[in-house]
């Protein structure tokens, strides 16, 4: 160790040059971009308890069956299932699917 310390003392000027060269190089080169987000995909998909999803689906079916008066009975059944599906999708945070089902039930 003493030998190393002695050698470092003797090489002080050289080591200072090496350090300043490295510092200069570090500053000259731009850093690549880095996209860091707090929420990872698995955290973004918030889970809802299954009983909430089931309750939402049942409510959807009940409301859906109450709607046939607005159209034919076939349409009423179809609407009920679409609505239930939408409720389930919303309950599971699957917004894309819920939008798809909602829009398809409109046409």
């Amino acid at each position: 160790m003493d030998k190393l310390k002695e050698l470092e003392k003797e090489s002080q000027e050289l080591l200072t040059s090496i350090k300043s060269m490295a510092d200069k190089e570090n500053l000259e080169m731009p850093l690549p971009s880095l996209d860091i987000t707090e929420n990872e995909p698995k955290l973004l998909r918030r889970r809802i308890p299954s009983w909430v999803a089931v309750a939402a689906m049942l409510a959807g079916i009940v409301i859906g069956f109450a709607m046939p008066k607005l159209g034919s009975s076939d349409n009423g059944v179809k609407t009920a299932f679409n609505y239930a599906d939408t409720c389930r999708s919303i309950a599971q945070d699957d917004v894309n699917l819920s939008l798809l089902v909602t829009s398809s039930s409109l046409f």
Partner: protein, 168 residues
């Protein structure tokens, strides 16, 4: 200190240039590779933030992972990256005032570049990153005594090279 996204971004700005410089010199001045490795390193650090030991300096954790990545890179390439070849491809300096300094820097780059990889890594971590010997030993997973002996050999070789080339 919990590694939140904000904390991590600050650490990236503070330590990113050091990591990139370390990769740059370890890969023989391959700028593209150094940039890719830096980006990859910080993505890995972010993914592994749960394993970060708050009691230890961030730089030790960072360089330990960086060194492992380099070892994998060496293995992948199946060849030692030549420092001098790429160093010679650096853009020529046109300003006369800087010419002497640039020549000296070039000589230092060549001297460090000629070191065997185990010596080079301890040399860079000690004299450029100023890591304590104990932390270098941890980064490289070697005993502290080995760090000292490698440093001694490396510094002797760099001095020797500079002495022989200074007047050329």
């Amino acid at each position: 200190m919990r590694l939140t996204a904000d904390t991590f971004r600050t650490l990236y700005l503070e330590h990113g240039p050091r990591a990139q410089g370390f990769f740059l010199r370890m890969t023989g001045y391959d700028r593209e590779l150094a940039r890719d490795l830096t980006q990859d390193l910080f993505m890995r650090l972010w993914s592994a933030r749960g394993s970060y030991d708050e009691g230890r300096p961030f730089s030790t954790w960072m360089f330990a992972i960086a060194y492992n990545m380099l070892k994998n890179e060496y293995r992948r390439r199946m060849t030692v990256m030549e420092y001098v070849d790429n160093a010679d491809k650096e853009e020529p300096v046109t300003e006369t005032d800087h010419l002497e300094q640039e020549q000296r820097d070039q000589m230092l780059r060549s001297a460090i570049g000629r070191l065997p990889e185990p010596q080079k890594v301890v040399f860079l971590l000690r004299y450029e990153e100023e890591l304590p010997l104990s932390e270098i030993a941890r980064v490289c997973s070697i005993p502290e005594g080995t760090v000292k002996s490698r440093l001694f050999s490396a510094l002797t070789a760099v001095r020797e090279y500079c002495k022989n080339n200074e007047n050329q």
